[in-house]
């Protein structure tokens, strides 16, 4: 293809990428470098139904003028990235100085908001992703072996978890695991422990979220694998059978190698999806025990009266960096495969 044709061919998508991906990212990076102007405060007398008090108040007019002069806010450089709400180098230093063992150090460092969120996000990503792939593969194999008549309904029901809106799905489960809900109460009876609460214990909350994540995403892996299974070459399969391969060996030596590119694809999608886990945390009211990077951004923007844009922007940039780091190995692998084939 001549270069000119090629350029014209991808121009629309390049433009869209620039408008909807590059520009917003650039704007977020820019915002993360500024913080709010110093507030100009005045003392005012404040009277109401409960009497009068003297309180400090923001001088709105003076602030409006400041903002008109410098709309972006006060230059803070990388300050927001290093403050206690994000990478917290200073607090890590303090914790390092006052702790004696690695255990204590990690324990206290992992209590810092950013690292706590990062910890859960990574755990969620690396536990849910492999389970989704394995479970999705097993369902696909199972469904593929069913008689044709049963396939339709089974496929429909297997897809349900993905059709249900994540927030609704998590709310439904949330009520079921309540200590008076069907799952919560059953577990209490089985373990004979009336204080057992899936919502209170941090470990059990994590497990609940992981299980929910697998439940919700497995259908995606299933659909992809099921489609892939339809294309497994019949002659290879037949020769394997002729050679006396058992069903397990057929799966191991024919099906899995054939589906490998799909595994890479699902891993890629799931790594991205799971790294930005958010809805289940809100749905399960799990903020006490599990926060993710996306949740941090949400709480910076919605947690208080005035949104903390710089904080949210800095977390967004760090999340983007995280996604890049996570995807790099998978992308390198794909690139190598591509080169080998070419």
């Amino acid at each position: 293809m001549p270069h000119r044709t090629f350029s014209l061919f991808i121009l629309p998508s390049l433009l869209a990428m620039l408008l909807f991906v590059a520009l917003p990212i650039g704007s977020v990076i820019y915002q993360s470098l500024f913080i709010e102007h110093e507030q100009i405060m005045v003392e005012v007398e404040n009277c109401g139904p409960f009497g009068c008090t003297t309180e400090r108040r923001v001088d709105a007019e003076a602030m409006a003028q400041l903002r008109a002069e410098e709309p972006a806010g006060r230059w803070n450089g990388l300050g927001t990235y290093f403050n206690a709400g994000h990478l917290a180098f200073e607090r890590i230093g303090q914790i390092w100085d006052r702790t004696e063992t690695w255990g204590q150090f990690l324990d206290q460092a992992m209590n810092l908001p950013f690292y706590k969120a990062l910890g859960f996000t990574l755990a969620y990503t690396f536990i849910v992703t492999p389970f989704v792939i394995i479970l999705g593969f097993c369902i696909a194999l199972g469904v593929n072996a069913l008689p044709n008549l049963a396939k339709g309904p089974v496929i429909f029901f297997s897809l349900l978890p993905m059709i249900v809106t994540p927030l609704i799905g998590s709310l439904v489960l949330f009520w079921m695991i309540d200590s008076r809900g069907i799952i919560g109460a059953t577990l209490q009876t089985i373990f004979g422990d009336p204080t057992l609460s899936l919502k209170a214990s941090p470990t059990l909350t994590w497990v609940t979220l992981f299980v929910y994540g697998v439940w919700h995403s497995a259908p995606f892996a299933f659909v992809v694998f099921y489609a892939g299974l339809q294309g497994v070459p019949k002659d290879t399969m037949e020769s394997a059978m002729v050679d006396g391969a058992s069903r397990r060996e057929q799966v191991r030596f024919v099906v899995i190698p054939y589906l490998m590119p799909l595994v890479v694809f699902i891993a890629l999608m799931q790594l991205m999806d799971n790294f930005r886990v958010f809805e289940p945390i809100v749905g399960f009211s799990a903020e006490a025990n599990a926060t993710s990077l996306s949740y941090l951004i949400y709480s910076d923007l919605r947690g208080q009266d005035t949104p903390l844009f710089a904080s949210a922007a800095a977390t967004s940039v760090l999340t983007t960096l995280g996604v890049i780091v996570l995807l790099t190995p998978v992308l390198i692998r794909t690139w190598r495969d591509f080169n080998r084939k070419a």
Binding site: E45, R56, N289, G303, D305
Partner: protein
């Protein structure tokens, strides 16, 4: 200050009958009334009355949503503002004042505010910036029947509340008799603020935005909350004020710290379980540590008006709100029972007793300081681990201090 309120409410009762004569909403001139409000029963009663003012020349639109706090600043920043009236509380007025988005109401009060009482006017440096119409605070709800059967006195301090809970547990009446809204976020932050208010200590260092809760009073307040968890159900970290009612109606709890604005639903004898409603009573919030101050904050709900609107819209909106808040509002016994109204013509009802008792016992209003919201968020986000026993009180307060200082620095309050 309590005297003024009591005096005005009883005076209001006298004049109430006289005011009930005019029935129709008539607005001079034309204009558009656009109301943004929180979504609960008492506010709905006010807002729905304001909609009666719609006519050929006056258009009335309303948006009642629990998300009002998150949209109000953006909605009032546009010119003309998306809403003419913002129904606010003492906490949610602050962001509007910070941005200078509300207009002084002195001229409108002089012209149309004959029914208002002095205690309703929120004056900031002498200018009327908002009109309050109801008071709210948390109060102690209790099951009078259970206390009587077991010979337990109504607790007036948190120490007694814990003893009473222990007594109920020992008597085999209830395993987890306490309910308090410990859901991390706004609810949990509010619980700590209430508890800390009971110590009478300030939240901030004088004349600065530096937080001052990392002290003995802060630790004692946290320890008291921890002691409460002993008598709360296993799912307590998901308890919030919206979900209290099923627990109450299911006879799983006997004591609850709950909002006055929700009390009506708990004592409603036409509700789902009339016998429990009949046995439900409210008193002032308990004090603790021998300070004698009810551990709660006082709130008012009222309305402010947008700065970026035309004079016609402002006049029409103010008149509509005045019609909504006329004595006829509280002449309806059902509406009167919904809240502790500050409106002319109101006679205190059971739902208001707790609020008035709190005021009389010396509870203080929720601070209207601009950085209070940041501290509230920091508290809501950082206390759960302590309550679940994964952290010490000192560590929890240190986390709160760090989170608050970071946010306040970014917002420009601390240098």
């Amino acid at each position: 200050m309590t005297k003024t309120l009591l005096a005005t409410t009883s005076l209001a009762a006298l004049f109430g009958l006289a005011g009930a004569a005019s029935a129709q909403c008539t607005i001079e001139g034309e204009g558009s009334v656009r109301i943004l409000a929180n979504d609960f029963q008492a506010l709905h009663a006010v807002v729905s009355r304001a909609t009666e003012c719609a006519s050929d020349s006056v258009e009335v639109t309303t948006n009642e949503t629990t998300e009002h706090k998150d949209i109000q600043v953006a909605a009032l920043s546009t010119d003309p503002a998306a809403y003419t009236v913002a129904v606010v509380a003492n906490g949610s007025l602050v962001p509007l004042l910070n941005e200078g988005l509300t207009r002084p109401l002195d001229d409108l009060v002089a012209q149309y505010g004959q029914n208002l009482q002095e205690s309703q006017l929120i004056r900031i440096n002498g200018e009327i910036m908002a009109i309050a119409f109801m008071a709210n605070s948390q109060m102690l709800h209790y099951r009078a029947d259970l206390l009587e059967e077991n010979g337990i006195a109504v607790p007036t301090t948190y120490e007694e509340l814990l003893e009473a809970s222990a007594a109920l547990r020992e008597a085999g009446v209830m395993e987890t008799p306490l309910y308090a809204s410990f859901l991390p976020g706004w609810d949990l932050g509010e619980e700590f603020i209430n508890m800390y208010m009971g110590s009478g200590q300030p939240f901030f260092e004088d004349g600065s935005a530096q937080v001052a809760i990392n002290n003995e009073a802060g630790i004692a307040a946290l320890e008291m909350m921890k002691a409460m968890t002993e008598y709360m159900g296993p799912d307590m970290m998901t308890y919030n004020s919206n979900e209290a009612q099923p627990y109450w109606e299911n006879e799983e709890v006997a004591f609850m710290t709950g909002w006055g604005s929700r009390t009506a639903a708990f004592i409603d004898e036409n509700g789902a379980v009339p016998e429990i409603a009949a046995a439900t009573e409210v008193v002032a919030m308990p004090s603790w540590g021998g300070n004698g101050i009810p551990a709660t904050t006082l709130w008012w709900d009222g309305f402010a008006m947008a700065k970026n609107i035309s004079e016609e819209d402002a006049a029409a909106s103010f008149q509509a709100m005045m019609y909504a808040l006329s004595p006829e509002l509280v002449a309806d016994p059902e509406v009167a029972g919904l809240a502790a109204w500050l409106v002319n013509g109101y006679e205190p009802q059971p739902a208001a007793e707790g609020v008035i008792a709190n005021m009389q016992a010396g509870a203080a209003p929720y601070p209207m300081t601009p950085y209070m919201g940041l501290l509230h968020t920091a508290l809501g986000d950082n206390l759960a681990e302590f309550l679940q026993g994964q952290e010490s009180a000192e560590e929890a307060l240190e986390d709160v201090e760090a989170a608050y200082t970071t946010a306040a620095t970014e917002a420009g309050f601390i240098q």
